[in-house]
Symmetry: C2
Subunit: 365 residues, 2 copies
């Protein structure tokens, strides 16, 4: 694709589209927009390239936020901690990073690399390690290809920095999670430093351009009068699973995760039915009247019924009228090995993964 | 003093004497003996010098164990993690350490630097940062003199490593404590890297030789038939506070600390009285029938009545017959600034610090 220089509306589209793919997680798109927009307003450029254009010898890192998204409203990031964490890791590794990659799709975690790239003059890659958002550090395709999460760095907004070098990616997750709790609920991280050679094999390509397309279709639909949810589902290749009103949200923070469950009472064609969606940062499993209709690693996204805007799990509230969408995950997540890492059983559900395209066929309506 | 080359019996004496000064904390002296003895048995030398002999420009670090001592019985250290953690910090700082210093007096934390010194061929300094043991990282005289605890490194026995660079020593304590919890209850640490110039001002000198003397007097008493507790109190400059039988021990692990309380029923001259000692890794406050008779920063040490051997807090058990000793702390701990860091009020007690020499005078017996 050559180089792609982002315009302000691209940033907005990416933040919204990535939040759709983020399955309720990956951070708030409004915060993401603000941060990436700020860079462009200062006159900096945000430049992306395709994974195919990346040299085998180049050195890549993923900047992101880690923690319970709900704590980000209590203390907002300034962006400085996201730049600092890259420098900490570069200092430790005594190398400099040629490219930045998003680790996941999400309203904030897709845009924060844009911010860091713009501020530090580094090129971004149009791809990520999930094609969606997941709650734990080892839940990335890089992990499936044997890439180590560490050395990784964490930094908070106060100026504290931490470097981890662990024996495996599960230990990176365990220790880093505790550090984010102590840092106040979230931290900026720089993770999965790796060479272009392995990155190109392990990446899920085109996540940013896909997010931009979803966001753009949603924007166009508003202007053209087309139903925004229909436009979004078409752009994302997703399915409508349910439509209704939120009647209950319970949430708790457990070991550094925002966990919870939302209950939705059906409206229209779905009247008389009830959907329950469980989440751990991201939406994990959706049931209608007790029957599973979608599960990780497929994407379950809750959208505002009128505007089609994605609603992250920390923003779900009683009374919202919503559409629940199911979007197929990348095929890399559907192998038996990948399902051990991100399938419903890993999260404690006694449920076999069935691709959403199959589940949709047997829904009774 | 020139160079002091340790003999096997010195190691034993240091482990026991340091456990007396350790106020119930600082790790188990038996484990400490075993580790330091092993080095000598392999033919390595353990060499100490006086703080006065250290160059201003030399670079010093403190190796130690951090965490809840009780968890060390569940997974024993191998010593390898204590060597590794020094290398991690040297790699990060791109400097090598000329000397090792104990951070505190304790059965294990006084001997682990001997072990690391012997294994890596580094010289030890006869001094430490407490003259006793304390539960938190900022409770060292180095902190009082403005030395930063970080960069510090942590390592576990599995091979995980962590580096912290925090804005102050309280943040180092908070984040490192969570990391030790996640690492399984304890970690090897390398902390307070500093130059000889500041070390010489901030150190409490001669802690190791003082520990060796206490241990030697205890050993000699056993051979000569003298009462070991009397010999120990004389060598340590301490006071007998109580004598009795342990009738209750309650303990809990809270935020990475071994907390608890021991109740002792008086015997002999103390019959009819009852002592309660509160601890957080170390003994903090001792009361007889509700009246405070000793408190941090003075040293409260619980000794086996027959042998005079110190009993660390994690080994206290119902039925033990014990003497409770009070030993004056170093004068560096008795300033108003120091008492803000380690006085009884820091630990949540509504008690003014009164030097043990004063408290002893007003005891009714």
């Amino acid at each position: 694709m050559g180089e792609w220089r982002l315009k302000p509306e691209d940033v907005d589209d990416i933040a919204v589209g990535a939040a759709v793919l983020g399955a309720g997680g990956g951070g708030d798109p409004y915060l993401g927009k603000l941060m990436a927009r700020r860079v462009l307003e200062r006159g900096a450029e945000i430049v992306l390239v395709d994974p195919d254009d990346v040299d085998d010898e180049s050195f890549i890192v993923a900047p992101a936020f880690m923690g319970a998204p709900v704590t980000m409203f209590e203390k907002l990031p300034s962006g400085a901690e996201s730049v600092k964490v890259i420098k900490i890791l570069e200092g430790f590794m005594n190398k400099s990073f040629d490219y930045l990659t998003p680790i996941e799709a999400g309203g904030l975690n897709s845009t924060i690399p844009l911010y860091v790239g713009g501020v530090t003059g580094r090129t971004l890659i149009d791809g990520d390690g999930m094609g969606r958002a997941f709650p734990e550090l080892q839940m990335v395709t890089f992990h499936l290809y044997g890439v180590k999460a560490t050395p990784m760095a964490l930094a908070d907004e106060k100026g504290n920095g931490v470097i981890l070098d662990t024996i495996d990616n599960y230990w990176a997750e365990r220790i880093a999670r505790m550090v984010t709790v102590r840092m106040g609920g979230w931290a900026s991280i720089a993770i999965y430093p790796m060479e272009g050679r392995i990155y190109k094999k392990a990446v899920i390509p085109k996540t940013i351009s896909k997010a931009a397309e979803i966001g753009r279709e949603l924007r166009d639909a508003k202007n053209s009068g087309r139903d925004p949810v229909d436009a979004l589902l078409e752009a994302a290749g997703g399915f409508k699973l349910f439509e209704g009103k939120i009647v209950d949200v319970s949430r708790w923070t457990e070991a550094g995760f925002a966990k919870g469950r939302v209950e939705i009472e059906g409206l229209g064609d779905y009247k008389g039915r009830r959907m329950i969606v469980d989440f751990q940062n991201e939406n994990l499993v959706a049931r209608i009247d007790g029957e599973v209709v979608a599960s990780v690693p497929d994407i379950i996204s809750i959208l505002d019924m009128e505007t089609g805007e994605p609603i992250t799990t920390e923003r779900l509230r009683y009374g919202f009228r919503v559409v629940v969408a199911g979007i197929p995950c990348d095929p890399k997540w559907r192998t038996p090995h990948a399902l051990e890492v991100v399938g419903p059983r890993y999260f404690g559900y006694n449920v076999n993964y069935v691709p959403i395209e199959e589940r949709i066929k047997v829904l009774a309506y």
